[in-house]
Amino acid sequence: MTTAAPEKPRKGLFGIREKPYVHPYVGGVLLGIVLFLAFLITRNGLGASGGLNRLVASVEDIIVPGHIDQTPYLLKLAGGLKNPLDDWSVPVIIGAFAGGAIAGLLNGRSKFEVNKGPHISNRTRLVMAFVGGVFFAYGARMARGCTSGQALSGGATLSAGSWALMMMIFAGAYGVAYFVRKMWN
């Protein structure tokens, strides 16, 4: 009698065996509780692109300080004596990075790899990841927030604009999904 060889378990850094993800509804409830606590205690929700924006502004402030003072948009963040990093969104993204790293390590999912569809090369995937990042962040700054700051946080507080924007994110992604299907399937 032969049995199929058991699939070799995937392992992450430090040889921790990869565990499955939590059920989406469980993850959603936990995320909802984090979001609720953020609003309850601090009045702010969650955010990601705003913190990145401030990191960029702080680097620009060091490299080309005069430039900041001539650009109205950057002036708001880092003009004069303002420290662009003194904002709630900065500790949030540092915490998010740390939280992701710990969760990945504990569950054996931390490893250097490229996640992609089966029919494209690593190079194509990485070029697309970069281009996607540029688009997403540009759109996020234009819309004054991304999926975290607008869709999640604005969704939960019932902001009319955030709900409109959330529909548009899904519309944009579904609209283009067909044309890039080879990338993912």
């Binding site: 995320l31 979001l35 009045r43 992701g100 970069f130 281009v131 540009y138 999926t147």
Partner: protein
């Protein structure tokens, strides 16, 4: 008075309490941790959403939204949270729609959104790291190009702090219940799609999810039944802290009015209008007829009955330097307006002392066209007559600050040291 959000996050700058950064760090930690264990560090799982194979993104996102929403409005209903202090992203419809579409394209092409890319990068995924680098480039590119469409970006489709309740004129509880039902319907449909496109066996899904759905509906019904506190409820429980001789003293709104701590002398208003650091919003609550006869330049005419319609705009003004000054002919209508705005948690609201009549008695004294009415007017009626409705084209409508030396006790104090969005939402 609601204890949340904590006052350290509302009235003080973060730098005054070091631990506030730690709180945000912990919130971020929870955020990143939950995203990772939900599978959001994996671009393949995220992209599968858009081919109907694995609707994890939809399920996690909408479960999070409805969970947080129900808990938020329940907290507000039972009076532990002042929802007007909670940061609601302002509605800029045009830039939101265009930006949303661009984000959607970035999502399917890049496989992430900014939050999930951070988590992906933190677990060593190279595509996540590269997406973050792209996002940094995109953020930089926006800062460099926004000047080209600055006007459009800042004004087009702007509605302030507009909620779905304001937009559809529905009670909060109704909207909360409808959103919960919509989400449950989407989950039901999503699972059907997964069964068709992702060949998923639904019988293996935990039965407990039905119980969870029931709990959500019950909580939403509780929000509906309890209802949100009315402005009158909030006004009755409100205290406002002012600094009196270097001491912080809490006052009820009634005490502020009777002790005349919020009635601003015309001279202080004139000086404040000239102060570049302050953003003075003047609201003239008189009739349109009176307003057309004469008004202070820059004052907006919003009759008392319509005041609540401008709350979304007032609540989205930067609270650290915005001062609202209300005015009627005397003070009666302005005081009523003051109560409405204060009850709705608008910060730094003041009344023009003696109203427009007092303003005219000082700044209009030398203007021949402006003459007192022959008979003493009724309370809160205009005490001057004008040859024609020139509005703000009188000299008294826009006096030169340097030309007047007036003695007054300054009343304006800024209540808040921190704006919720910190100049650029996350």
């Amino acid at each position: 008075m609601p204890i949340f959000p904590l006052p350290q996050f509302v009235t003080q700058a973060l730098s005054e309490n070091w631990w506030t950064y730690l709180v945000f760090g912990l919130i971020g930690f929870g955020f990143g941790y939950v995203l990772e264990i939900s599978g959001f560090g994996n671009s393949k799982k995220l992209a599968a959403q858009f081919y109907f194979k694995d609707l994890t993104v939809l399920k996690v996102m909408f479960t999070a939204i409805v969970t947080a929403m129900v808990l938020l409005f329940l907290s507000s209903a039972v009076g532990i949270l002042d929802f007007n202090l909670v940061y609601v992203p302002e509605t800029y419809l045009s830039s939101g729609i265009v930006g949303g579409l661009i984000m959607g394209v970035g999502f399917i092409v890049g496989g992430f959104c900014p939050g999930t890319s951070l988590v992906s990068a933190s677990t060593g995924k190279i595509d996540g790291i590269v997406f973050v680098l792209g996002a940094i480039t995109g953020v930089w590119a926006f800062g460099e190009t926004v000047d080209g469409f600055w006007q459009w970006w800042n004004t087009s489709g702007y509605f302030g702090r507009l909620t779905l309740m304001d937009a559809f004129h529905l009670p909060t509880g109704v909207v909360v219940l409808l959103v919960v039902l919509m989400a449950l319907f989407m989950f039901w449909g999503g699972e059907k799609l997964e069964a068709i496109f992702g060949k998923k066996d639904l019988s293996k899904e935990p039965k407990l999810r039905v119980v969870g759905a029931g709990v959500l509906v019950l909580l939403a019904l509780a929000v509906l039944v309890i209802g949100q506190p009315t402005a009158a409820d909030k006004y009755a429980n409100l205290t406002i802290t002012r600094t009196v001789e270097d001491e912080k003293v809490a006052f009820t709104p009634g005490q502020l009015l009777t002790n005349r701590l919020v009635q601003v002398h015309p001279g202080e208003l004139l000086a404040s209008l000239a102060d570049q650091k302050l953003n003075i919003v003047m609201i003239d609550v008189r009739s349109e007829a009176d307003y057309n006869l004469f008004h202070i330049r820059g004052a907006q005419n919003i009759p008392l009955a319509d005041l609540e319609t401008v709350l979304p705009f007032l609540l989205s003004q930067p609270p650290t330097n915005t001062v609202v000054v209300l005015m009627s002919n005397d003070e009666t209508a302005a005081s009523d307006a003051w109560k409405v705005l204060v009850a709705n948690s608008v910060p730094n609201v003041y009344i023009l002392e003696g109203g427009v009549n007092n303003w005219l008695s000082i700044f209009g004294a030398d203007e021949a066209d402006i003459t007192p009415t022959p008979v003493p007017p009724a309370d809160d009626a205009l005490a001057y007559t004008f040859p024609s409705a020139l509005g703000d084209r009188y000299e008294a409508a826009d006096p030169e600050p340097e030309a007047w030396e007036l003695e007054y006790t300054p009343k304006i104090q800024l209540q808040r040291q921190r704006g919720p969005s910190g100049g650029g939402c996350g």
